[in-house]
C-alpha cells in the first residue's frame, strides 16, 4: 500500500477526517521533538513544545499554500516556537521549574551515557547539519523524504549529512581520546 502524501492527508483533514492529522503527527512529531531538543536540551520541554507546534499548525493549516511543504513549514513553526521558549526562559530564568509540565510526568530519563553524550554532541553541530541528521534518522533513513523536508537536492542533502556524520565521528573520537 502506498503511503499517503502530506498533501493527501491534509486534504483528508480538510474534508473532516481528523485521523489524517494523527498520521501527520506520527510522521513528523519525532522530528519536531528533535528540532525542539536542539534548543531546550531536555526531552521534557521538547515534548511540550512539540505539542504546541502541532496545535499551532492545526490552527494555521488552512493558510499553508504549498501542502507538500508541510514538513518544512512545521519546522519553521517549531523554530519560531523555540525562539519564543528561549525568550520566555530568559525572562523567567529565576523562576522555579514548572511542576505541571506534562512531559515531565510521562518522559523517562535515558540510562545510556554514551547515547546521551552523542545526543548532546548533535546539539553542538551547525543547524543545517543537525537538521540533516534529524530528518534522515527520524524519517526511516529515507534520503528522499529527508531532502524534501529540508528543501535540498539529493546531492546537496548527502553532502550536508556526510559533513554532519564526519563532524560527529570526530567529536566522538576526541572524547574517546580524553577518556583514555
Amino acid at each position: 500500500m502506498t503511503t499517503p502524501s502530506d498533501k493527501t492527508l491534509i486534504r483528508a483533514l480538510f474534508a473532516g477526517d481528523k485521523a489524517a492529522y494523527e498520521k501527520l503527527y506520527d510522521r513528523y512529531a519525532p522530528l519536531v521533538r528533535a528540532v525542539c531538543y536542539d534548543t531546550t536540551g531536555n526531552l521534557t520541554d521538547a515534548q511540550d513544545l512539540t505539542q504546541d507546534v502541532f496545535m499551532r499548525a492545526y490552527e494555521k493549516l488552512e493558510y499553508l499554500r504549498n501542502l507538500e511543504s508541510f514538513g518544512k513549514w512545521l519546522i519553521g513553526i517549531a523554530r519560531l516556537r523555540c525562539k519564543e521558549w528561549q525568550r520566555h526562559k530568559l525572562r523567567h530564568r529565576d523562576m522555579k521549574p514548572d511542576l505541571t509540565n506534562i512531559g515531565s510526568i510521562i518522559a523517562g530519563p535515558s540510562n545510556d551515557g554514551r547515547i546521551e553524550r552523542l545526543r548532546e554532541m548533535i546539539t553542538t553541530l551547525p543547524e543545517r547539519e543537525r537538521l540533516a541528521l534529524h530528518t534522515f534518522y527520524l524519517q526511516g533513513s529515507s534520503a528522499e523524504a529527508a531532502r524534501r523536508t529540508m528543501g535540498l537536492s539529493r546531492s546537496g542533502f548527502y553532502r550536508v549529512l556526510e559533513r554532519a556524520r564526519k563532524r560527529l565521528e570526530k567529536l566522538m573520537s576526541g572524547e574517546q581520546e580524553n577518556i583514555r
Binding site: 505539542q51 548533535i122 534529524h134
Partner: protein, 417 residues
C-alpha cells in the same frame, strides 16, 4: 550497510519516540473541530457559480440572489486584491531562503538624514557569493543647504579575511584598501538584515500586489528598526525589502532580489589595478604610480579654492591650530561645491606631495581666506631639499623663491612656533 555510528544515532533518535502514543492521544483530544473548507476556495466557488449563471437556473429567492451578489462583490475584491485570509509565509521562511542561498544579487536604494543635517543617498547593485560582497553604486551626500557631492564606486569585501576591503573610484583611478576590518554599511546591508531581524516581532500585512506579482507582506521590527518584506507566497523568496530605522530617517530598499544566480569569480577579485592610486585605510599610506611634483600641490590648492568660491580654505595639510580653526574648516568643506570628476582627488594628491616632503622642509600653510588670484599674499611655503630659500605659493598660484628673512610675518604662526 550500517556503521556503529548509524546504530548509535538510531538509538539517539529512538528517544524522540518516547511516549509518542500518549502524547498523540493528548494532542488529538485537545484539538478543536475544524471548519471544513478554506475561506478563499468558498468565495471562488461562489463567484464561479454566479458567473456561470447556475444560480439563476435553479429556483432561488431574490434574497438569496442578493446574497450571492454581495458575496460576488467580496469575491471581486478577492480577485483584485488577493485572498483576505491570513498568510502562511513569514519572516522565518524568507530568512531560511536567504540563509540557504549560495549567491544573491539585488538592487538597492538608500537615503539617510542625520541630526547634523547631512543627507546621504545612493543606489546600485549588490552581488554576494560566499564570503564576498560587491556593490556598484552611485551615491552622494549633502550638508543642509550645501551643494551635493556624488560619486560612483565599486566596493568589494571578503568576510572570510576579516572584512578585507577595497573601494574603487574607476573614473578617478583611485582606490582605498583595508587589509582587514574594512567598514562599509552598504556592503553589509544584506547581512545586517539577516542578523538584526532574526528574532524580530512579525506583523502580517496580508496579501498584496507588487510589481504585478502576488506577494505576502509583513513587517518585522526590533528595537527602533523595522523592515517591511514582500515575499512570494509559494516560494517564500523575498521580492522587496524596505528597512526603516530611527523614525524613518534611514531608509534602504532592496529589490530585484535573485538567489543562486551564476556569478563569475572575477567580480570578486580584490587585486588592485596597477594604474590606480591606492590609499591604505589602516596606515594612510598612499601608493602613487607616478612621481608627485609641486604641480600636484598647485592643482590641489586650485581645486579647493575654486570649490570654496574663490578663496583658499583654512587648513591644507597645515594652517592655524585650534578648535575654532578646525571647526571653520569643517564648515567650509561642507560648503565646498563638487569639483569635476577628474579633479576630485587632486586636493588629496597635493596633500600627498606635502606629506612626502623631506624632514626639515618647514612646510607652512597660511592661505586661510586668501583670495584666489591675489598675487601678493602667500598661501604656503616650504624649503626645497638643499635650498637656502623658501618656495612660496601665492594666491594667484604663482611660485617664487624667497629668502627666509623675506617671508611674511604671520602672528599666529609666530605664536605657534
Amino acid at each position: 550497510m550500517k556503521t556503529p555510528l548509524d546504530n548509535d544515532l538510531n538509538k539517539v533518535y529512538e528517544s524522540f519516540n518516547q511516549n509518542h502514543d500518549q502524547l498523540r492521544e493528548m494532542l488529538m483530544a485537545s484539538l478543536p473541530a475544524r471548519s471544513e473548507k478554506r475561506k478563499g476556495i468558498r468565495l471562488i466557488n461562489l463567484v464561479q457559480l454566479f458567473i456561470r449563471g447556475d444560480t439563476m437556473k435553479v429556483r432561488i429567492t431574490k434574497l438569496a440572489a442578493a446574497a450571492v451578489i454581495i458575496m460576488g462583490v467580496f469575491a471581486g475584491l478577492y480577485l483584485l486584491m488577493g485572498p483576505i485570509d491570513v498568510v502562511s509565509v513569514g519572516w522565518a521562511d524568507v530568512l531560511e531562503n536567504m540563509e540557504a542561498a549560495q549567491t544573491v544579487t539585488f538592487t538597492f536604494e538608500y537615503e539617510r538624514r542625520y541630526e547634523d543635517g547631512e543627507y546621504c543617498w545612493g543606489k546600485g547593485t549588490t552581488r554576494i557569493k560566499g564570503p564576498y560582497r560587491r556593490a556598484e553604486a552611485t551615491g552622494g551626500h549633502r550638508y543642509q543647504d550645501g551643494p551635493p557631492h556624488e560619486e560612483t564606486t565599486i566596493s568589494i569585501m571578503d568576510l572570510s579575511r576579516q572584512n578585507r576591503f577595497v573601494l574603487l573610484y574607476p573614473p578617478q583611478k583611485w582606490a582605498y584598501f583595508a587589509p582587514d576590518h574594512g567598514g562599509n554599511d552598504t556592503l553589509l546591508t544584506y547581512d545586517g538584515l539577516k542578523k538584526d531581524f532574526r528574532d524580530g516581532t512579525e506583523e502580517s500585512l496580508g496579501r498584496v500586489k507588487i510589481d504585478g506579482r502576488d506577494a505576502i507582506c509583513f513587517k518585522v521590527s526590533k528595537d527602533d528598526k523595522e523592515i517591511t518584506v514582500w515575499a512570494d507566497p509559494d516560494t517564500a523568496l523575498p521580492i522587496r525589502i524596505e528597512r526603516l530605522a530611527t523614525e524613518g530617517i534611514d531608509k534602504t530598499v532592496l529589490c530585484d532580489i535573485a538567489f543562486d544566480v551564476e556569478l563569475d569569480d572575477e567580480l570578486f577579485d580584490m587585486t588592485l589595478p596597477d594604474d590606480y592610486i591606492v590609499t591604505n585605510m589602516e596606515t594612510e599610506e598612499c601608493r602613487v604610480p607616478y612621481e608627485l611634483t609641486q604641480e600636484h600641490l598647485i592643482e590641489g590648492l586650485a581645486v579647493n579654492a575654486n570649490a570654496l568660491g574663490g578663496k583658499f580654505p583654512t587648513l591644507y595639510k597645515g594652517g592655524r591650530r585650534g578648535k575654532e580653526a578646525f571647526e571653520k574648516y569643517i564648515a567650509e568643506t561642507r560648503k565646498m561645491s563638487e569639483p569635476p570628476v577628474e579633479d576630485k582627488f587632486k586636493p588629496s594628491l597635493g596633500v600627498e606631495f606635502v606629506k612626502r616632503l623631506p624632514e626639515g622642509s618647514d612646510y607652512q600653510y597660511v592661505g586661510e581666506d586668501v583670495k584666489l588670484g591675489d598675487a601678493n599674499t602667500p598661501v604656503c611655503w616650504w624649503k626645497p631639499p638643499g635650498s637656502k630659500t623658501y618656495r612660496v605659493v601665492y594666491g594667484d598660484l604663482s611660485i617664487r623663491d624667497v629668502e627666509p628673512s623675506a617671508l611674511p610675518k604671520v602672528p599666529w604662526l609666530t605664536e605657534q612656533k
